[in-house]
Each structure stands twice: as C-alpha cells, then as structure tokens.
Symmetry: C2
Subunit: 211 residues, 2 copies
C-alpha cells in the first residue's frame, strides 16, 4: 500500500506538468496483443497534420513498438519495465524529460499489455482507454473488473474478424455495462477502418476539454 500512496503523489506531480505544458494525456491499456500499437499507428497518421502528438511506450522488453510508431514521424520514447508488469508515475516523469513534448500536444501512453496491474497505478492521465478485442471472449470485463471499472472509454477492437468468430456483441456490451456503466464504448477495426473516425473525434474532443 505504501507503493500506491507514493505513486499517487507522483501522479499529482505528473498532472501538474501536464497542466503546465497544456498536454492532453491518454493512457492506453489492454491485454497483450489487443491492438494498442496498430491503433496508435493509424491514429498518429490521422492526427499529425492537425495536432502535435507524442508517445511514451511501455513494454517489459524490446523497443519493437516504439520502432513501429516512429515510422509515423511522431516523437516516441520507449520505457522498458524489465520484470515489471505496469507503468508507474515516476517512469512517466523520467520519460517526459526525454520526450519534451511541445505545448498543446496530445500525449499517448501505451501501457504494458496487462488487464490487471496497470489499473491500480495512476499516471496523471486525463483519460483511461481500455482496448478489448473480439478475439478474447465476451466476458473479459466481468472477469477483470478493476481495469474496466476505471475506464473512461472502452474500445472493442478487431471487429473485422467478427464474421469468423462466435462472438456475441450484445453479451460483450452488457458485460461492459455491468462493470463500467459510465464508460463510453466504440467498436473499431484498424484493418477495415470501422470506428476510427469516431475515435479521432473523441480524441479531438478530449483535447479541447483539457488543453
């Protein structure tokens, strides 16, 4: 519990920096492989002509995801957590000094792929976005409630695969509503493009509200 109290204090410090630099900050969380990086690749390409963007990329090991995202031209700093299973506020603080994002940017934090631990660690972000892919089964929200309960937005991803799955969309939506009645929900596919516009609009709205 001392770890969480310390993290809360550092999250406050991050929040103050975000306010000072007029950043709009999104923390992207999901199971491993739900599509966070693919979504960011597409999002950075769509946003960059209109809005300054920057990325802090969290992974246990490798900088594969950072390398993929740098191809969009956006500034990306990779944070490796080693055996750690989530990003913490002090890692983000250190990453920010390296990244030095321009004022008014949208900052994306791609967290370590994990539906459990990242839910407990506030990074100072404005919005918590949880991805949940249709290939994982309908019941993830009720089975991993702590992550979904604190989500501002739930993205149901890879909807292009629905024709090949026995996935019950109604059950998935009621599983989300049961745990996170206030969360917004968008369905999307980075392959077919479904829902990507609505997501980009959601980001522009967040930026207007925070910056």
């Amino acid at each position: 519990q001392r770890v969480l109290a310390k993290n809360e204090r550092l999250a406050e410090r991050n929040r103050a920096f975000f306010l000072g630099r007029k950043l709009s900050v999104v923390n992207l969380m999901s199971s491993p492989g739900s599509g966070k990086t693919c979504l960011l690749e597409r999002t950075l390409t769509e946003l960059r002509p209109h809005v300054d963007v920057a990325v802090l990329e969290g992974d246990q090991e490798t900088s594969n995801d950072a390398a993929r995202l740098r191809q969009t031209g956006a500034p990306v700093v990779q944070i490796n957590t080693g055996t750690g299973c989530h990003l913490e506020a002090d890692m983000v603080w250190r990453g920010l000094s390296q990244l030095d994002p321009p004022a008014g940017s949208t900052l994306f934090i791609e967290n370590v792929g994990n539906l459990v631990c990242p839910a407990l660690f506030d990074l100072g972000e404005h919005a918590r976005v949880v991805l949940f892919s249709v290939t994982e089964g309908e019941d993830k929200p009720v089975k991993y409630p702590h992550m979904f309960r604190r989500a501002d937005l739930v993205l149901l991803t890879k909807t292009d695969l629905l024709p090949y799955l026995e996935f019950d969309l109604d059950r998935a939506h009621s599983s989300i509503t049961e745990v996170a009645p206030d969360a917004e929900v968008l369905q999307l596919s980075t392959k077919s493009g479904e829902g990507v516009d609505a997501w980009v609009q959601w980001l522009k709205r967040l930026s207007r509200e925070t910056v």
Copy 2:
C-alpha cells in the same frame, strides 16, 4: 523479494503433497482470452475416460470458467484473487484441501490471464504450459520474455483463424525459439481439432513420467 522467498517455500510444500498423492500437475498460463478454458473443456472430455482429472481455476473475479469446466463432470475448485494478478502457492494449497483430488490424477491449474506476473510464482507444478494465440501478434514471446523463458511447452492457439489474419508463423516460431529454445511447441485449435491429439499425448507422457 521476501514475497518470492516465502512463495518458494510454500511451492516446496505443494510439491511434497503432489508427490504424496501421485499427482501430475500442469500450470496453464496466457494472456486473457488466449483459450485456456476452451482447451481445458476439450481436454477434460478427452481425458476423463482414461485418467482421473481435477482443476484449480484462478481468476480475479467470477466463477464463469469453473462453471464451464464443471459441465465436463470434472471436479473444479474456483480461486478468486480479487485485485491479485496471479495465483500463489498458498492459494493452491488451500484449493487442494477443498478439491481433494484422487491419487494418480492429472491436476490442471488455470492461472489468472496475465503474461507477466504468474511467471514469477512457482506453484510446485511439474509442467508450465504457456498459450499464445495467433490473434495476439507474432512478437509476444520477445516482448514478454519472462513468461516464455520458463515454459516447458508453448501452445500456439486458434490456428483455425490463420486464413483471416496477417500472421507470420515462421516469425512466431523464431520469436519463441529466441526466448525459449528448449520449449516444445504445438499448434492447435479447439475449434478445428488441429493439434488436440498431440496435446493429449503430451499430457499422457507427462503423467507417465511424474506419477
């Protein structure tokens, strides 16, 4: 580190119980939704006529998975970890006294869906099996190396979906080999039945070697 040392001691105690009761114990781990429970449903049905089976089911919340597995007729005890992100040796000890499996059984432990934390907690098991579904991307082994490094067997699941994905099997296999050169690898689908026989043979071999 004190937590891991205590867990090691308790894992030894579990191992002694497994030896005493002549159990063959498999710890199943993966990301959320990689197909652990679907595989167990199929496996328990195939094994039950030949071998005694029993299951300890680990989840943050709900007993959805235990209810699914009980439909096979196998004895199942559900362990809920709350905000915990993995099973620990003492939870398994407590579950064992409830389960009271017959001598000579194969005991399956379905761990909490998480590619990070369960890798650090020995439960006293004979074999660590890591599932990795083709829908998650090829690079999971190198990005979450601690889990794969300690795997005895890696199961590449949901291969029936390969025709609809841009998934490079060679890259996935070399990603596994890079991190876990000694692990055996099987491809399977609980939908098409591919690989299920080879998996059941692997289990029977394990049971002969341990019991």
